[in-house]
Symmetry: C2
Subunit: 415 residues, 2 copies
């Protein structure tokens, strides 16, 4: 089985000024392809340190993927360092040079010396063209090591990684040993409860490992199969996935890149239903999540962030007496909010959320984290009283995901 190390190059990464998302992205993709990532390393824009990191990686893995350091400035030294470490001169790649010229031309920019440098690759390396920028990528193989250098901008790096993996796949077809991972996302069953259901089962299958991860109330089950070939891994994962889906039932909402909001969006489309949302404590987060989905405008009609009581009364038609009697954070008000937004937008589904996100605003009877969530589909009202823990942002996230999941389950019943 191929082992790999990801080296992310950049002073902004190693000093913590940005959170690197390239390494986890690449690790996930490699893992899915059956390549085992053993290490991730970050190092600043310092030639000697990059060199030492590359040398250590060459000793301990078969495949090194680097990101960053391919820009036009003096701080970009990945090319030169690879040339030194692998003892291969840099040569200008004509095709890349022409591409950079064209790319800059389309932006009405003249090619500079820095940009010219970006067409240089180690002699004998395989060029990985960058369709979204000027940083040429490359893959260089030498005896047992392969190094693949990609730019740090995710939008440029991601398609280039795919291009490399196509080459990789064509070269590694016959390789023995494959590890594949599949992720199933669930909502509504606690992590210990899921662990308990998977436990006895995992012991029976030696080639299978399961791992759970929790994030904003979503429990993800990662199933990893380690077997001889890619085909048998897929077959095994298919069987295990069916089995786990049977055990976890409706709690499973998606796989891989799918999110609760994308699952709901797909169901709205399938059921041809429209939705409108009235939010208080989540402050627009549910609307924001929905509107991250391309094409949602056909199904998502409107969102009201009724933060003040006045807004609840004026826009959503919640009665003043109801707020006086039960308080703005109450099931009655959540229902009135959902009814209000559904009525005024003529949507098929209305959602109402009211609660105390904290850290202030708690009373004796109503602690921080108390949230009421209501979903109304046609005439049918479902209300949930929740008590979430954590920071203000945690409470917002848990509340939004719980609301999305309630909508999802309602729509599932209509299929």
């Amino acid at each position: 089985m191929t082992t790999a190390e990801i080296i992310t190059i950049g002073t902004e990464i190693v000093t913590g000024q940005i959170i690197d998302t390239n390494a986890p992205y690449i690790a996930r993709i490699l893992n899915e392809k059956g390549i085992q990532v053993l290490f991730q390393t970050s190092v600043g824009d310092n030639k000697e340190l990059i060199k030492s990191a590359m040398k250590i990686a060459m000793e301990r893995v078969g495949l090194i993927i680097t990101t960053g350091g391919l820009g036009p400035t003096a701080n970009d030294m990945t090319r030169k360092t690879v040339s030194d470490v692998f003892n291969v001169p840099l040569v200008s790649d004509k095709g890349s040079y022409t591409h950079i010229q064209k790319y800059l031309g389309s932006l009405h920019v003249n090619i500079s010396d820095g940009h010219k440098k970006q067409s240089m690759i180690p002699e004998g390396a395989y060029v990985i063209r960058n369709d979204n920028g000027t940083a040429t990528g490359f893959a260089l193989r030498q005896s047992n090591s392969e190094i693949v250098c990609l730019p740090g901008v995710p939008r440029e790096m991601q398609p280039m990684l795919n291009k490399y993996l196509e080459i990789y796949n064509s070269q590694h077809k016959s390789e023995e040993g494959c590890r594949l991972t599949r992720s199933l996302h669930t909502f509504g069953i606690s992590e210990p409860a899921i662990d308990a259901r998977l436990k006895g089962y995992a012991g029976r299958e030696e080639q299978i490992k399961t791992m759970t991860l929790v994030h904003d109330g979503i429990v993800t089950v990662n199933i990893t199969a380690t077997v001889k070939t890619r085909e048998s891994a897929i077959k095994l994962l298919d069987r295990i996935e069916r089995d786990i889906r049977k055990q976890l039932g409706l709690a499973v909402f998606g796989m891989g890149d799918e999110t609760l909001e994308s699952a709901v969006a797909m169901l709205l489309k399938k059921c041809n239903k429209t939705i409108a949302v009235a939010e208080s404590c989540t402050g627009g987060l549910v609307s924001d999540k929905f509107t991250n989905i391309p094409g949602i405008s056909e199904y998502f009609l409107e969102g009201i962030v009724a933060y003040s009581n006045k807004a609840k009364v004026d826009i959503l038609g919640v009665s003043d007496e109801l707020i006086q009697k039960h308080g703005a954070v109450s099931e009655h008000v959540a229902i009135a909010m959902a009814e209000g937004v559904k009525g005024r937008s003529s949507a098929d589904i209305g959602v109402g959320i009211t609660g105390i996100a904290g850290p202030t605003g708690a009373t004796k009877d109503k602690p921080v984290g108390l949230v009421y969530i209501v979903v109304i589909v046609d005439g049918n009202i479902e209300a949930k009283k929740c008590r979430f823990r954590g920071s203000r942002i945690d409470v917002k996230n848990y509340s939004a995901n719980t609301a999305l999941n309630m909508v999802r389950l309602k729509l599932m019943q209509m299929l």
Copy 2:
């Protein structure tokens, strides 16, 4: 100057199943204390690999900070590995044992063998008590190396890192050489323009380095001072900060952890103004950002996500003819949206945003990324036509930040 490496331990990290935020957090804190982080390494829950990572780190830095692998399960092997690498036996720390018992008692949980293991530390190590969990941390010094092991849960790790740094500070008072970084966040001047203004200046000060980073339109200037003592670093940074602020003027909106929305929230409070927001293409993102700020409910009255034309007409009072004549994505409609939400909420400030986030929805005249943003303060209308590039989510983020910045500048004029 002390050099450091951060090793994050966990299969979920190295396989990319979670995005690790501990390493950048620790790097930032160490950097602020003048400790230079040279490498970040991630490695899975595999004793031999962890061992090799620790040994490599011992060769290349003076201080190693690890996170993860201190839990109660068989997968948690940081303690045992440190014991092996440093050749020191593990001993039970009485104080930690009592603490774990008490902590679990408060949760009505009995102490298990796994939990007992969590009180074990390498003989001679300094205990770092965990007030938020059962994983005892520790710092072990041996000749030129110091290793500090902390749990992976950020809520537990962060206060423990602070405890360690108090010890570190008391031991390193007289040390020569200190590097401190300060971050200034700006909006409204492009990165190349900022670079150009800082360029000539940076050459004059050898002890100062500046670096710019862009994120969702926000350009952050990191100023690093490398001098003899902490006091002189602070003095130098103060002077440079004043100078840069003078050059960049109103574009500077905050430092360190401050965000555009927190800057606006502070100004709303200072000026005692209320705000309401009508969003189309940003889909609730501006409201969501505002409501992440504790206590904002006094100033943020309501947000309307008027995704459909019907919502723009019904809730915001935008006229049907206006939409027919100019289109929903137009300055006229953005103004009417801002006026509508301001009027209906009686807020001092009204914001209207309409645009095409993409990837669909473009017409011949109106490309993806075209966004109109309007801010009305009392009777004063400011309108901006923007053309953003990137994904749907990029367009949402740029639009939201541009709107927040327009509000900020308006409020600055009122101070």
